[in-house]
């Protein structure tokens, strides 16, 4: 019987019904301390340190602070030092401040070759869906489940439903994979993928680079999806080849991975068709990623929304965002620009952003920062001279970490500040209390930094 990629991976990992074996457990400092403590209190071991890896990211200052003990914020310092101690006590490899391979957990997995097709990957972080871009089953879990994986290397899971989104045609020039996923969330809604493992498929997806695919899978959770997946292909294998963590006999592994893609005739619980050729650069206007329009549109009018709950949410969002219904998106003027996060901080994101500068400067009204996703991305960018391009244009060039995606470190918005951000969430207060977030692609963020307002990059030179 024909099977979906999800079914193949799921069935290969069933220890028994509803008990799934985990191949890779990624750990960071925020959602793990209580889990390690739970192990200590019950006298349990961490079963497979060799399938576990830890990094510090959420709390990391991006000012070049070289070691955990020099983090100025007392609570952040304690959390990172606790991670270091826990990793040492339980034998888990850890990449903390100062490590050459430190970085955002969803950036280092792929770049170290730890993220592999056909595997199950979990992390106490909702953006774990990112890793599904390699044809892995990857999803976020809470701290109790983190402890469960530490103790047993398994998870108790009910089999989720499956959805496939087929993108017909290719993206137009100037339209990115960030726009593709924002448009998809806008169409399906913030709960539109709830309960589903989603496979992204079709010509537009096949044409994406590996890092563009990571951006798509990353935001699966913003539509409520359990996991996002993309079938591995030559693009995947080419990206992985030579990375330190990949299987020793790489070609034999590739032969196995070729069996993973969904079989012809396999059925999904739900299928959606989206015309990729019709997608435009997107900008969020509200306080959920589903509140999104094309850059050429205007801020929507809540009065024209039929459903009362939707109208009420939109009214609240406009008030929070300080926006008037009917304002053209291109007239919105951010004061801050943030290029970074597990969605868009990889080397190709930074290359795209840097290429859009073309000798121009950041507008006087704007403070803009670029935050590489990992220490490795930072080194690579500096070897290519991207840091000098950014700095010459007036962007700040920072150290690796989650930075202003979530405001757990010194990089935050102040009350009322408006930000064009390449991150994944525009929730109230996400980037700092009272901060106003507009989610966009790296090129759109760069253009906004230079012009001082959003622009349609398709007609911008």
């Amino acid at each position: 019987m024909p099977k979906t990629m999800f079914e193949k991976i799921w069935e290969a990992h069933e220890v028994r019904e509803e008990l799934i074996y985990i191949d890779l457990h990624l750990v960071h400092e925020v959602t793990s301390p209580q889990a390690f403590e739970g192990l200590r209190m019950t006298g349990r071991k961490l079963r497979r340190p060799d399938k576990t890896v830890a990094t510090a990211d959420h709390n990391v200052p991006t000012d070049g602070t070289p070691t955990a003990k020099l983090i100025a914020d007392k609570l952040s310092r304690k959390q990172v030092q606790t991670l270091e101690k826990n990793a040492a006590d339980f034998g888990v490899p850890v990449y903390s401040l100062g490590s050459e391979t430190q970085g955002i957990v969803h950036v280092i997995g792929p770049e170290l070759g730890l993220t592999q097709p056909g595997t199950t990957i979990v992390c106490g972080d909702s953006h774990t869906s990112t890793h599904g871009a390699f044809g892995a089953l990857a999803f976020g879990i809470g701290t109790s489940e983190v402890e469960h994986v530490m103790a047993t290397q398994t998870l108790v899971q009910r089999r989720p439903k499956t959805m496939r989104i087929n993108y017909a045609g290719r993206l137009a020039p100037g339209v990115s994979s960030k726009d593709l996923i924002l448009a998809t969330i806008g169409k399906l809604g913030t709960g539109g993928m709830s309960g589903y493992v989603v496979e992204y498929a079709g010509e537009a997806i096949r044409a994406l680079t590996m890092e563009q695919r990571l951006t798509v899978c990353n935001m699966t959770i913003e539509a409520g999806g359990r996991a996002g997946m993309i079938a591995p292909d030559e693009t995947t294998y080419e990206y992985m080849r030579g990375k330190p963590g990949v299987p020793k006999d790489f070609e034999a592994a590739v032969e196995r991975w070729r069996q993973l893609p969904t079989d012809e005739g396999a059925t999904f619980d739900y299928e959606v068709e989206i015309d990729a050729t019709g997608i435009s650069p997107m900008v969020t206007w509200g306080t959920t990623p589903g509140m999104v329009v094309q850059v050429t549109d205007r801020v929507p009018d809540p009065a024209q929304m039929e459903e009362p709950a939707q109208r009420q949410s939109a009214e609240r969002a406009l008030q929070y965002m300080g926006l008037e219904a009917g304002t053209p998106i291109e007239e919105i003027r951010p004061e801050r620009v943030f290029i970074g996060s597990c969605t868009n901080s990889r080397i190709s994101d930074l290359r795209e952003a840097a290429a859009a500068i073309k000798g121009r400067r950041v507008a006087d009204s704007i403070r803009a920062m670029v935050v590489p996703g990992s220490a490795m991305v930072k080194r690579q960018a500096e070897e290519e001279g991207l840091d000098r391009l950014f700095e010459a244009a007036g962007f700040e060039w920072r150290g690796a970490g989650c930075s202003m995606c979530l405001g757990m470190n010194p990089d935050i918005l102040i009350e009322g500040e408006r930000c064009a951000s390449t991150s994944n969430r525009n929730f109230e207060g996400r980037q700092g209390k009272g901060g106003r977030t507009h989610l966009v692609s790296p090129t759109m963020a760069t253009a906004a930094a230079i012009e001082g307002h959003f622009v349609d990059i398709r007609s911008w030179n």
């Binding site: 019950t42 340190p49 109790s144 913030t190 709950a309 949410s313 979530l406 109230e428």
Partner: protein, 188 residues
Amino acid sequence: MEAINIIEGPVSVLDRSDVDTDQIIPKQFLKRVERTGFGEFLFYDWIRDGEIELEPNPILVSGRNFGSGSSREHAVWALDQFGFDAVVAPSLSDIFFSNCTKNGFLPVVLEQSECEALAAAGSGRIDLENQKVSWDGGEATFEIDPEIKRRLLGGLDDIALTLQLEDEIEAFEAGSGGSYGPVTTALP
């Protein structure tokens, strides 16, 4: 985990949809390394700014897609430690739902109209064993996975239950199942 079955009493209402975990427990309170001390920071910004008032009643009723966003279990700890025992909404995010069930905190999904009726009644009774919510003038049934229900009713510890299957896990690892994925300790 404490066993639960009947949750009964006044209802607090948060009439908003898409209430995300960043609102339930803002990021500045995620730096604790303990499981306790989160209750006083529940909905910190909304409550401090006077946008909402919430009594620590047994039941919280809210709008669709409650608990969306971050996987932070701190959100459930905050709701629980504030004084709630159950949340009722037309839909709940997947990870949040799972986190609730690991903490003896009952997540209940009802129809929008049923949520509204329960909110209007001002108090209610949730009967997990019979999967029923009742209030003055109405009642509704809800779905819950039988295995999750069994664990909630018994206050069973997931990890202890799984560790009873250690032989099966070892057998799985010894077979082809153990061969997938990287060896993290082998990296330079």
